[in-house]
Symmetry: C2
Subunit: 501 residues, 2 copies
């Protein structure tokens, strides 16, 4: 089981980000184009590049190297600089910014009423924002070239780019609001905290800023997934929970691997546990109320569909047939797959370098499983991760750095007296919500919690089938953002210019 | 005049920090030991070292190198961890931390009433906190080794050290208040802004956080010095103002250099302008109401003494004799100097590396002189500094970085809605006050301004001769810090622990 857990450690590191060693996409080709993108033939955005400095914090000769940082911009709705119309900025995550942009319809939908300029910033080392001349072969090759991949550098990139962009647009007085989901949400929250002079507020959706080692329980992630399935069907939970032992026993039996291969229609010969776990974890994350295509194409409320397959009386006691039915929901929505290639670790959204971040500063323990877990019980073990990171990437994690730099401990006490204008959205079905801010901290640092919500569901394009709670969440967010901007304009109209005494 | 201004550019870069090329100490040996230190034979502090990481923001193999960061600690007054007694931390400046500690008597004097632990942190690359094995020869040798000298790295050092220290003392719930003067005050302010989870408040004394290019006028520095002298005596101002032309003309005359050498008792043969400017600038900065020995030994209100010498009727129209008398106040308090060695650029407080900081990120223009300036009129010219930095240190300044990282533009508007618990003290006789925060921003971001005050006078040891305004400033500071700590204990007593929902 050792290898399996080492792999699962990584694959659980952060959402859909486990690419290289751990992603198990189905033969159904995951298109980078989302449903939205397919349905609109107009251009959502223009693509631009900004010459970014490689190292903001040091002054070595090599610190001055530059790279091209991609950003996407839409000025269709903008009220213009002369009106100090707002600028909404998405602080890009660990992947291709186009993909996140296409899955952040909320910003496009609210831009008209705010007359906002939309800007989506790509995170260094992802997508087309690759240092060392844009050459991934070089940039990803070793810890010397990868060494500049860090969240603090990315935040400094964003500050630098936004300030320059505003200057070029003569829009210095336009208020900036930052948005982000998942790691992008963490960056949005941190950006407001670290660069209040650049952004007047932040909507941080499904941002596990408390998910770090030492703050929340390492069991919270799996506990939420467990509850997601249990809440739908106690039997569904039990079947999955008990299946791991059966799979393990089968693997050890003569002919067992062939049986598994046949049962799960595996084209190659790889263990199925990780493949199944991926399906359960990602489905829990994206248990959206309407059909979606974020990680994989999925029906509305996909966990219900998975449990329907598992609870299906026609499969009787055939656990593998039940699991296969559940896996099909995640991996085979079109029903056209003939077999699954578990060795195919393709990475359509360019997420692979999250492994580096999870091996350096993003020490978000997610792999603890207590006795009640839907997954085999296991202890969170930092040493295992450290060993893996050393062997695989030649880098040593800094488990205390994120909380040193960004805080998180005693957050209620610290931010009660400091900071303002932040929204933390969390959907409680999302396993990452365990590391989210679930309580409002002050009048203007507000938690919005949706019991039925999944991973940054609020940021997705609206759908006419959206449930009322989701419509209400978005209304509330819009209302709060309006308040920030109104207050900003009020302050701007007062003479708060600084001119000594 | 070109060379002269290039030199003066550096010497005016930051207070007493221009050492290498520009400091002109008198033959009176400036002891690192202050008056206070000489007068107390007891130990003020214990010296300790912390193993600090070289590069907090990147993950190259060399980022993981460590160095020994010095800190001084005094636990004589501390109420202890079990009582959550406070920790007062001085965020060290650009020099030997012992020197700053000895000139920050305020912390020692208030520690008993707060039952505070005192900690003084040394800034990387200064004093004994030298990377690369503590070897200055290596650390200072080129831009590759000096590259890690930056304010963001120093702030991260402080956060890392404080968190570790509190953990080792089991004092996680002890509130930390940071103190600093001058650049150390900038660091204290920035530390509260960037690490609110580490420090509950900051006393930033004479911290020119608005002194950066593009915020305040580059003339403000010299205007304040001008006003300092003018306020004492219009004649004194005029004599100094008109002297530069006379000196220049004399230099150009046959035998003029000899005349100057004789008039000013110069041992070697160097131009006197920089030497005189240094005296006027540093005396303005340290125009304290009682005798002091910070930069040089000085009488109470030394500008008055300088002007007294200049206005002295016994020297008639002899401008050089008048200037010599003024220079003597700064350079020759003991009256024992027989001649002055202008080539002696000794650096008793280890300030030389400020030149690096002023050549990278600390672009604080101070060398603009308008028509009314007491110094020869001159324009601030960034290009000149950039050229000098490139030639002298092989490094390119980043003039926009400090305001990108730390803000400053529109500070009233930004911090009105963000942040808390900061005191900005400024004395208006201090030329650095032009870049200080001189207006209160919110209820808890407070400016204390003393018309008669000089450079971080509030942080100095009290003296029985201290004027009432200075006693009042300190009382006010103490009162505010008490409020912060009381509020913190109140919050601590409430259950603000975070445990999800």
């Amino acid at each position: 089981m050792k290898i399996f857990f080492l792999v699962s450690l990584l694959f659980l590191l952060f959402s859909f980000s486990s690419a290289k060693k751990t992603k198990f996409p189905s033969p159904v080709n995951i298109q980078a184009e989302s449903i939205f993108h397919q349905s609109t033939k107009t251009n959502l955005y223009e693509t631009k590049y900004f010459t970014q400095i490689l190292d903001h914090f040091n002054y070595h000769p090599q610190s001055y190297q530059t790279f091209q940082e991609r950003y996407l911009i839409n000025n269709k709705f903008w009220g213009g600089a002369e009106k100090n119309a707002p600028i909404f900025v998405y602080t890009g995550n660990e992947g291709d910014i186009e993909w996140f942009t296409q899955n952040t319809g909320f910003m496009f939908e609210i831009a008209p009423q705010f007359k906002a300029l939309l800007v989506f910033l790509e995170h260094r080392y992802y997508g087309k924002s690759i240092p060392f001349g844009g050459d991934k072969e070089i940039a990803y090759s070793n810890s010397t070239t990868l060494g500049y991949l860090s969240s603090t550098q990315a935040l400094a990139d964003y500050a630098t780019l936004i300030i320059d962009l505003k200057k070029n647009l003569t829009a210095q007085d336009s208020p900036v609001v930052v948005f982000g989901g998942s790691y992008g949400g963490m960056l949005a929250a941190w950006f407001r905290l670290k660069y209040p002079h650049v952004a007047i507020g932040a909507l941080a959706s499904s941002a596990p800023i408390l998910g770090f080692q030492g703050i929340v329980s390492p069991y919270s992630f799996s506990n939420i997934i467990t509850q997601d399935f249990k809440g739908v069907s106690e039997n569904c939970y039990k079947v999955i929970k008990e299946s791991w032992k059966l799979i393990e026993e089968t693997e050890e039996q003569h002919g067992g691997l062939d049986l598994l291969k046949k049962s799960f229609k595996i084209c190659d010969s790889k263990p199925v546990e990780g493949w199944l776990q991926t399906a359960f974890v990602y489905t829990a994350m994206t248990d959206y109320p309407t059909p979606s295509n974020f990680l994989n194409p999925l029906p509305a409320y996909p966990i219900r569909q998975m449990c329907k397959a598992i609870d299906d009386p026609t499969t009787g006691n055939d656990t593998f047939a039940k699991l296969y039915g559940a896996a099909n929901i995640y991996y085979n929505s079109s029903g056209t797959a003939t077999c699954f290639n578990l060795s195919d670790h393709s990475d359509p959204h360019g997420l692979s370098m999250w492994t580096w971040q999870a091996c350096t500063e993003m020490i978000l323990p997610t792999d603890g499983n207590d006795e009640k877990s839907i997954f085999p019980s296991s202890e969170y073990n930092f040493a295992d991760r450290a060993t893996f990171c050393k062997e695989y990437l030649g880098v040593e994690p800094r488990p205390n750095w994120a909380t040193t730099e960004f805080g998180g401990m005693d957050i209620m006490r610290v931010l009660k007296r400091f900071g303002s204008n932040m929204i933390f959205f969390n959907g409680l079905r999302d396993p990452w919500s365990g590391g989210g801010v679930l309580k409002s901290i002050s009048k203007s640092i507000v938690a919005i919690v949706a019991k039925q919500g999944a991973h940054h569901v609020d940021l997705r394009f609206s759908d006419k089938e959206d449930p009322k709670w989701l419509q209400d969440v978005r209304k509330k967010e819009i209302h709060i953002i309006h308040k920030w901007i109104d207050q900003y304009y009020h302050d701007l109209s007062e003479d708060l210019s600084y001119n000594g005494i």
